[in-house]
Symmetry: C2
């Protein structure tokens, strides 16, 4: 029996952390990434580093996870950095900007293109170190009660679309609204909303929007590859044994990969079920796309002029994005376009 | 001084493995993934599980890594499973099939769509457990001395293209050749080859093909998202402590992610340099693409008829692929196409 009890190594203390997720358990693909990290970290440390995950609202409201990590209310969190653009628009680079990077390009920027170092410099000001922690891939553009035939149809349209996407929709004439997931369906039903975006087929199907608004638009140009993030309080991070830091870091990479892999797997059959239920798929009209892109880059220029943190990151991010486009348009996109469209 | 020496845990033995890579160190992005895994595994185990990586040819020839792992000559390897299609064409599913999955779809299939379990059943017959271990993304279609204007121009064309891509090129009238990387340049130079494919801009640039054959074609339809793999001898794997298995498994996920991130980062500027050096980019003509796709799926049907292992995996893989196409064509591809092509 003695041999089965490993000696307690001096540098392997028992550590228990709490992770506040911004998300409800019903968003199982997103929420599940935090649980995957927790399980893997535990297994890598023989159960000595234990991270308990709490759903949005259990410890702190979903949109206050960053604050709770910053002030040490919890040791770590799992959130979407663009929830915090009200503090500083530069948080968006850690998640998504309209007409920004795809999931693959976001990973390339973060892990290999200097993005993670740039963003850590910025997060340091919030007493946090962050790690890419999942991606949904390109989201859908949402559910519309009526067809959108041109830019003019956005005028006065009441749409649930938070964040920078909402800011740009406002510039196009729409009236953006911010509602929590559970409130969207009733608002659509009673006509308080004309349209609503959520995530993609797998998550949207569960909330039942297709029963009211049959027109399902693509692509979600405001979220071409939105990244979720794990955020850790800097003092707590620095106090961790090196082996535990390694475990957290590598488990975060796995969670990042696993979330995208799962979305890419479950969205496909969900989309097919929606279409079988009478959902009509539409591309956004070209004038909407062009006007939205112009409004987005005008917004980035304005923000760069007044926000030094944004400007510093934006100039690097933009160079990376433009370079990626030159490569992806040559190899990846023509391959995919042949697979998807060529008869 | 005593406190700095952690007690040796009973379940943390010192283990030293050798990993035979199929690749030369000059393919630094691919070779580097094995070194990344080695470093991470060591850090996760306080240096107790040490994996030393050897370049192709140092311990065993690059194309015999699978055999060396199978018979226990080395504990593990890093290779491309499609090197072994001569043993069984089903190995290709662990890497790439012409007109097959993109990098993201390969990850989705492996980690979430049942692919890894299917492939492990198959690898068990070779006394091996395998892990996805990197991806290049869609490769380029290679370097051609003369322009290819239609399918007829492939007739008699001597092209360096191994594996299934070569089999299909042969069905289109070309004369495929198998040459190691270092032998391609001289063969092109003396006219023994009319064309050669290698990887993509970053790796191709180093071998200097652009100095001889200026026409650079895309996409590499035979390698839309080729996966590299870590292969471990089953007895050695089963003898590992659970914590070490966890470390290997999660480090492999990271290496898989990191290789793609790095290729996506370094290919873009390499392509720009090549173009500045006078390289002419061309898409393969549509009749070449259509004929190649038809030949590829005819090959898969023939192989399914005679090879039960291939048939079992192919039917699942094909279902997954067709489903993915229905989803990616709706969200991801229209988003990317707008970014890349829309003025």
């Amino acid at each position: 029996a003695l041999a089965a009890l490993p000696a307690q190594a001096a540098d392997s203390p028992v550590i228990k952390w709490r992770m506040a997720s911004s998300f409800p358990k019903s968003l199982d693909t997103i929420y599940g990434a935090a649980e995957l990290l927790s399980r893997r970290v535990s297994a890598l440390t023989n159960g000595k580093f234990e991270i308990r995950v709490f759903a949005g609202g259990e410890l702190v409201p979903g949109l206050q996870v960053l604050d709770a990590v910053q002030n040490g209310t919890v040791e770590c969190g799992h959130s979407a950095s663009y929830y915090y653009v009200g503090k500083n628009m530069a948080f968006a680079f850690d998640c998504a900007l309209p007409f920004g990077l795809t999931a693959r390009q976001q990973n390339a920027w973060m892990y290999s293109g200097g993005g993670i170092a740039l963003m850590r410099d910025f997060f340091k000001g919030y007493n946090i170190i962050q790690f890419p922690g999942g991606n949904t891939g390109t989201q859908m553009g949402g559910w519309f009660r009526h067809e959108i035939r041109s830019l003019a149809d956005l005028k006065g349209l009441k749409m649930r679309i938070p964040g920078l996407g909402g800011k740009i929709m406002a510039r196009l004439g729409a009236v953006p609204q911010t509602l929590a997931g559970a409130d969207i369906y009733p608002a659509l039903e009673r006509g308080a909303l004309d349209a609503a975006e959520w995530v993609g087929p797998y998550d949207d199907e569960k909330l039942g929007f297709y029963k009211i608004a049959k027109n399902y638009y693509y692509p979600g140009w405001w979220e071409g590859g939105p990244q979720l993030s794990f955020m850790v309080n800097l003092q707590k991070w620095n106090a961790l044994p090196e082996q535990y830091r390694q475990a957290f870091e590598v488990a975060a990479v796995e969670a990042n990969m696993a979330m995208l892999a799962r979305y890419d797997t479950v969205n496909a059959p969900a989309l097919m079920r929606l279409v079988q239920n009478g959902v009509k798929l539409h591309a956004f009209p070209k004038d909407v796309m062009l006007a939205a892109r112009a409004a987005a880059f005008a917004l980035y220029d304005e923000e760069s002029a007044r926000n030094p943190a944004f400007r510093t990151i934006y100039s690097e991010w933009k160079k990376f994005r433009d370079s990626e486009i030159q490569w992806f348009k040559v190899a990846e996109a023509p391959y995919e376009n042949f697979l998807y469209y060529m008869k």
